[in-house]
Amino acid sequence: MNEWILETNGLSKQLGGRAVVNQLNLQVKQGDIYGFLGPNGAGKTTTIRMLLGLAKPSVGSIRIFGKDLRKERLSILRKVGSLVEYPSYYGHLNAIDNLETVRRLLDVPRSRISEVLEIVRLTKDAKRAVKGYSLGMKQRLGIATALLGQPDLLILDEPTNGLDPAGIQEIRELIKSMPREHGVTILISSHLLAEIEQMATRVGIITKGQMIFQDSIEALRRQAKPTIRISVSRPEEAWRMLLAKGLPVDWDQTRLTVGEVSDRTVASIVAALVQQDHDVYRVEEERVSLEDIFLEITGGEGSL
């Protein structure tokens, strides 16, 4: 009846009188890699806990696969794989036994264990106790556990937290390949835009418990308009002169910038400057990075 595989409606959670999550309307489409972004403490993990039924919403509803989470929790969770914050594992058991404890509850064939170990490339270390694993391997085991039940929806909370660049790269490739090879929809949270940017198809940005942006990654990129910066010998004078000529230039006491960047405009600005004997030192394009936009919409307090 609708296209959303996961949808929340006015989802809120009060903790100690404070709204940690406030009126959240999350919408994830089939086949998306949905990047759920926000600075630390914005309410991402709380939201994800509610999506998994680990915490109860104060207000609002959650629908996954078109079913109400409150009423059909078990049948929904059967098709959802999850990894919340740091991985959960039983350190004294090896990877196979770890997966087996979960497999017995999911009731999937035993062969699934070697399949998921293959996917996360842990087959070689499968017989070692997990407490001896590196963080990256534990994280991969966590993903293997999430994949065990052949889920249609994967919910990953900060899966690259605490990993080194190689580990991050590895997890990223793994996640990117998932919708392609296994037909899974993925919701992945992070406080690092740069990381999400490279794999997400859609993003939702949350800060102080509220969703402030939710659209495709392209829509977010479109907000990153480039500007042209010009440095000249006598900027203030140049600014007045250019304005008098009707050219769109801004002067903020330190920099001369042009918002409109068509080649024509830039050309006429430079021509005018040269004609009036200004020394033109530099004409450069400045791109606002997604990070800057992210900082701007999250109010600048976000840690990146």
Partner: protein, 238 residues
């Protein structure tokens, strides 16, 4: 489903010294009685229990077994819950397609099952000890089984309580303190009225009917289990 949960739980406690503990308790109880009877053989066998050697042995075993059960169940509950607390696996377990009720009762049943194994080992150990001590083969099975399994049934409220506490608190110091205090209190429980739950496992009551203690234990055990469940089902998981 409950069976599947139990089998998963049994897998989790591998290589955790839990099975070691399950065997250690009974070996300790029977071993101490072996020392007791060995050192005071002439006095105990020759004089005190001359008319009922098996009865005397069983009585002595039970006196040690109940406090051991009290402390054992607290440590056991703490270790079983600790497996999930250690790496905060609750969030993983509870995000699986199982109900909270199933997970909580799964832990409870695991504790119950392991303690049942211990109790059975005490009974078996008592038989071996009696035979070694030369008490003959006229083993009073009825008396022995009652002496072992009645206390086990009467102690169920405490299994439910420790399971609840250990699951609720991440820091196991609190549940363990409660458990140890409970063991100490139980040893002085004879002085209290029959309403005192710590007295029930000793099967002593005014009516001299052990089954009353057992019935109280089972009934109250269900109440504690239900209370724990009601709390666990509503709790948000960290």
């Amino acid at each position: 489903m409950s069976l599947r949960i139990l089998s998963a739980e049994l897998l989790k406690i591998r290589r955790k010294f839990i099975w070691f503990l399950i065997f250690l308790g009974p070996i300790g109880v029977v071993g101490l009685q072996a020392v007791n009877f060995g050192l005071r053989y002439d006095y105990l066998v020759g004089k005190v229990y001359r008319d009922d050697l098996w009865g005397g042995l069983i009585e002595n075993v039970t006196i040690l077994m109940v406090p051991t059960l009290f402390i054992g169940l607290a440590i056991l509950a703490s270790m079983v819950a600790g497996i999930e607390h250690q790496t905060n696996s609750w969030k993983q377990t509870l995000a699986l397609p199982v109900t909270r009720t199933q997970v909580f009762t799964g832990k409870f049943l695991l504790n119950l099952l392991l303690l049942l194994v211990s109790t059975t080992l005490v009974a078996a150990g008592t038989i071996v000890l009696g035979i070694v001590l030369g008490f003959g083969t006229g083993i009073p099975y009825g008396v022995l089984l009652k002496a072992c399994y009645y206390p086990f049934l009467a102690i169920v409220p405490f299994i439910a309580l420790q399971n609840w506490l250990s699951v609720t608190f991440q820091n196991q110091a609190f549940p363990l303190t409660v458990g140890i205090a409970g063991m100490v209190v139980s040893m002085f429980s004879i002085r209290f009225g029959d309403w005192f739950p710590w007295k029930w496992p000793y099967l002593i009551n005014a009516a001299k009917e052990p089954l009353y203690s057992v019935a109280c234990g089972l009934a109250f055990g269900l109440v504690v289990l239900a209370a724990g469940l009601a709390h666990f089902v509503r709790k948000d998981v960290k």
